[in-house]
């Protein structure tokens, strides 16, 4: 049996230790190599990077203009010493991209500038630990200066401007501007592929869940394949309703209370219980009931969905772990809504009649959890819950001429939407690297007259690095950075340079998300400071780690 060719392999390295000055030089080489591949993608005139496909039988390379994805594609560098620097930088850039959805190229450029500046100082005899300490101090000043420049935008036109500064796609930016003007920082936005050739958006009123009717026999409108009730009552039970007799108390109360439409949301429903409900639909005059499967794919999701539904509709859930079952239902368990609807796969309510004060307090609690959570899955789940409770959702349908175009556009829309959320909730800054340029004033005094040489050096390093994003943007657009900086120096504070028109503009014309830019600066400075303290590299023998599957 012939051995299959390796699918992906690391070279087998010999173990060894690398000391100074080689360690620093090689880390620098790794960072510079990786950042050189990402730097051309910074700014509105981003150039692209072609990446050979990792999959053997896929011959065409990927053409990318997203720094985060490019970094992810660089799996290793040929030289093992440089590889350590590159991989540390890669982890930083990927984290920025995953968490913020934007700013990965800015992060890369800042990291490179701070590390190289720091290394220059260490080569002249500086102390790495003290330099790191003062870099963190300088970082705090720069972040405070960014805070001072942060402002909030509203209105679809301004938000479209923010979106365009992120995605550089005017039609997409226009739609996202309108959507975020409506849904705000916490609203629910689904981005889906469409069969059409263009972009479109849709707004859905009320709260909807991905869970539908237990039986298609309960579908009333065979054209829309859904059932809509006006002024329905709701009963929520998170367990399985096994015994057909358990639905009787609920039906009796419904008749006593002159309820004409009833939605039962249950964890599960036996065939016997379903038959009981169907019989009620046929026999009871002026009464209709539909049974909907409780939302959520696991226990946590289900509990959360029942909690949200109960608060929105003013119902009390019959909870299995508390010993409740449907036979225990009383009038107080019934909730109400203005309208309720269900299809085979979804259901929702419009105008839940729960206490608005309780609903507001519940949403505030979820927002607080969202702000405290770092777990991406938890954040996504909380985001969905809040968006649903806000009373509506938006869907952006992504069409295009080909599957590749649709996929690329969807990725771009998701990335932009993520950064837009941050911009709406945390504000915006002057774009085009101008916010970083304006921070430099806060560092200047300590860079010139700080008591400690390490302090002066740290401030000077960050001072210089803060000009690098703007420099890269100007270079990528084909301008001579020194010339543009000289033109800007003659203008008032707050002026920016629009590389698309080649004109000096009001700073407000170019916008970046404040959260994205602050995260980029903070992560780049802290990571560069940490990397400057690396004194020795240790290599292990690395075996081949993967072979072609099958």
């Amino acid at each position: 049996m012939s051995e299959k060719a390796p699918f992906y392999s690391r070279k087998t390295y010999r173990p060894g230790l690398v000391f100074q000055p080689q360690a620093h030089e090689n880390i620098k080489r790794g960072i510079n190599t990786l950042v050189s591949a990402i730097r051309p993608t910074l700014g509105p005139t981003a150039r692209t990077v072609a990446v050979t496909s990792l999959i053997e039988n896929k011959s065409s390379p990927e053409v990318l203009d997203d720094g985060g994805i490019i970094a992810r594609r660089v799996i290793e560098l040929h030289r093992r010493d440089a590889d350590i620097g590159a991989m540390l930088a890669r982890a930083l850039i990927c984290r920025q991209n995953e968490r913020m959805g934007d700013g990965s190229a800015t992060t890369a450029v800042l990291l490179q500038a701070i590390y190289n500046g720091g290394l220059h100082y260490l080569a002249a005899g500086g102390n790495a630990m003290r330099l790191r300490h003062h870099l963190e101090s300088a970082l705090r000043k720069a972040l405070a200066a960014l805070d001072e420049q942060t402002y909030f935008v509203g209105g679809k036109r301004s938000l479209a401007q923010v979106a365009e500064s992120i995605c550089h796609d005017a039609p997409l930016a226009k739609l996202l501007g309108e959507i975020f003007d409506i849904i705000g920082a916490y609203g629910r936005l689904d981005i889906r592929k469409d069969h059409s050739r263009s972009l479109r958006r849709e707004y859905i009123e009320g709260m909807a869940w991905d869970s539908g009717l237990f039986s298609r026999d309960m579908i009333v409108n065979q054209t829309d394949l859904q059932t809509v009730y006006e002024e329905p009552a709701l009963v929520l039970v998170d367990s399985k309703v096994n015994d057909p007799r358990h639905v009787m108390p609920m039906l009796e109360i419904a008749v006593e209370q002159k309820i004409e439409k009833l939605i039962l949301v249950a964890g599960d429903l036996s065939a016997g219980a379903m038959a009981g409900l169907m019989m009620a639909n046929g026999k009871l005059k002026n009464f209709q009931v539909m049974a909907v499967r409780g939302p959520g794919s696991n226990a946590d999701e289900r509990a959360a969905a029942f909690e949200d539904l109960a608060i929105a509709a003013g119902a009390q859930t019959l909870v299995e772990v508390a010993g409740d079952s449907l036979k225990d239902v009383t009038v107080k368990h019934f909730g109400r809504a203005r309208r309720g609807w269900a299809s085979a796969h979804n259901f929702g309510i419009i105008g839940g009649k729960g206490d608005p004060r309780k609903l507001r307090a519940h949403i505030r609690r979820l927002q607080s959890w969202l702000e405290q959570s770092d777990d991406p899955q938890m954040r996504e789940a909380l985001q969905k819950r809040i968006g649903r409770l806000m009373g509506g959702s938006a869907t952006l349908w992504i069409g295009g001429a080909s599957k590749i175009e649709i996929d690329q556009q969807k990725t771009l829309a998701e990335k932009t939407a993520s950064a837009m959320r941050a911009a709406v909730s945390d504000g915006v800054l002057p774009g085009g690297g101008m916010a970083f340029m304006s921070c430099r004033g806060a560092l200047e005094p300590a860079s010139q007259s700080g008591a400690d040489p390490d302090e002066r050096a740290a401030h000077r390093i960050l001072y210089d690095a803060l000009a690098e994003p703007a420099r890269a943007i100007f270079e990528n657009a084909g301008y001579e950075p020194g010339e543009v900086f000289a033109r800007l120096a003659r203008e008032d504070n707050g002026a920016g340079f629009d590389v698309l028109s080649g004109a000096i503009t009001d700073g407000a014309a170019l916008i970046d998300s404040a959260a994205v830019m602050k995260a980029a600066l903070r992560n780049a400075a802290l990571t560069a400071g940490m990397m400057l303290t690396i004194d020795v590299m240790v290599h292990h023998h690395t075996p081949e780690i993967a072979r072609q599957p099958g």
């Binding site: 003007d181 707004y203 009123e205 206490d355 608005p356 609903l359 009373g391």
Partner: protein, 320 residues
Amino acid sequence: MLGVEISRELSESAETVYALAASPGFAKDGRCFAATSGGLYRSSDGGSGWKLLRLTDEAVSPMAATAVAVSPAFAQDRALFAAVKGGILRSSDGGDTWFAAKFPAPPPLFTALVISPNFARDGFMLAGTMEDGVFSSTDRGLNWQPWNFGLFDLGVLCLAASPHLPADETIVAGTETGLYRSTNGGRAWRESSFPSEFAPILSLAYLDLSANGVGETLLFAGTEQNGLFVSGGEGEGWHRIAPEALPGSVNQLQILRKPDGEARIVALAEDGVLISRDAGQNWDYRVQTEDPPTAFLVPKRSGETMFIGLAGKGIVKYDF
């Protein structure tokens, strides 16, 4: 009582008046409208005589009208809107013929109608409802869409548009449990910091502090039991004003601006109409009524005319 009562109309039919509206050219055309429990009435002679308008093909009894609004360009477009149970009717001939717009079931109960000051160009309107939140129309009342994103309380009791609506797209909605503000023409709402323990909010009005009507604004909110509150135009930082003059309900507010730019606030309290000339700090009774007043109207450029609707007693007109 100040002023002279010159007519008491509709009193025999014992109607309760929910809302009053006048043509912007009232001083010339004398047109005004009253939404009452017995239907929509029109006066073409400055409020001396009132005629019940036929809104639909109702055979038995007229439909109650809960709100009425007149186009700011009434002289040109003759557009008029009346809210009845389950729908909003529009007329483009000053109230002679009516057309209904469709709304989703169950039928909404309308509480307020707001028309854009730029209606002739943007055709924009909003309607508040008791249980369905806010509906908006951008085609002169032809089609209506529910816009309730972020509006957690769908019991909307009153609406007010910013005096700079075409520019800032700001609208506020008073509800059973608080105050909501939209800065995008009602497409999405954010909760204001109004203290919810003082809700429900029955009335809202913006006051532009500058003489020329382009400056900073104050927002007034009248509550059901707790008097009048004021904040900056942003709807944050509320405080109660004039608790002695307005100790209980403030059912309606109207801002009057005289030709010289002087602004007055008129408030409908439990027992009459009060007026303030100093941005709500001090109030004087303009009219005190024996029967509970339910609505009032001071038509623009009408001199000193005021209409007051009474619970079950029709309309009283005062000329001062």
